[in-house]
Symmetry: C2
Subunit: 142 residues, 2 copies
DNA sequence: CTCCTTGCAAAAGTTTTGCAGGGGC
DNA sequence: GCCCCTGCAAAACTTTTGCAAGGAG
């Protein structure tokens, strides 16, 4: 099970931050819509503008600093936010149809380990998507 | 050897575009500084503002459309541009010190092939960097 | 009561677009 | 001469910041 809104608020409290209505509301949206690709703008929309965008950005920043949330760049648009208690995965975005798929742990861990072996670099798959062509579009290409 | 300015201009011409002074100038900078991480702004700077930024963007877009150039997102700043005749490589950007390193062909091709095997997705390593910690910063972390 | 937070507004940073004049072919 | 290109200016879009008023602890 994923972190709930209360646990997110508690995380902020442990970080020395106050539990305000605005922060609770943002945590609520993040917890409730964890399987969506949440952007700051979509969070503001979910809250019908009752919380200002700057407050949403600041709350997301705080949650990210506390380690329970990360943001990922899927493309040229806004960043999307993810709870970190989801299994590690790499986003693959099709540059033709825009569809996003994810690849999960076992093979991915292997790939990243190979990079670390070769370079010492410890890659973090969450932060950037990989761009390319999905199976369908790649097939249509030929 | 890399593509020279004249070859880039010729590429544009083959795409049905005119060989203007502004485009020649941009091609000159791209060809001459191919080992730098060129951003639209740095290209404008190299040209001392003699070519407008919008023209630079439009020329880069044309070169990219012609397949001789790609842009990569290294982080939160502007995109960087690369000639495509450079060997395929993946950028790794350290989120702590900002240093960028690259990993080259043989292993990388293997990793991407593994992804394609698993998902059918044909990943393009050029478009996004991988974020993480470089060997030095990862070591300092412990 | 203190000072952390908020909303508002504006700025910052990157990229795109509309338009009238100028230049390539 | 036709119409593609350019520079200029402004807009679009995402994110950040300054500040005075308001609310948590």
């Amino acid at each position: 099970m994923h972190l709930g809104a209360d646990e997110l608020v508690e995380t902020l409290r442990r970080a020395g931050l106050r539990a305000t209505a605005a922060r609770r509301a943002v945590c609520e949206v993040v917890a409730t819509h964890h399987e969506e690709h949440l952007t700051p703008a979509s969070i503001v929309a979910h809250l019908s503008g009752r919380v200002d965008q700057s407050t949403v950005y600041r709350t997301l920043e705080a949650l990210e600093g506390a380690g329970v949330l990360v943001h990922t760049h899927l493309g040229h648009g806004p960043a999307v936010y993810h709870l970190t208690d989801e299994p590690v995965h790499q986003h693959l975005v099709c540059r033709r149809c825009g569809r996003t798929i994810e690849i999960g742990s076992p093979r991915l861990a292997e790939l990243l380990a190979a990079i670390t072996d070769q370079t010492g670099f410890v890659a973090d798959p969450a932060h950037f998507a990989l761009s390319g062509l999905c199976a369908g579009c790649a097939a249509a290409d030929r």
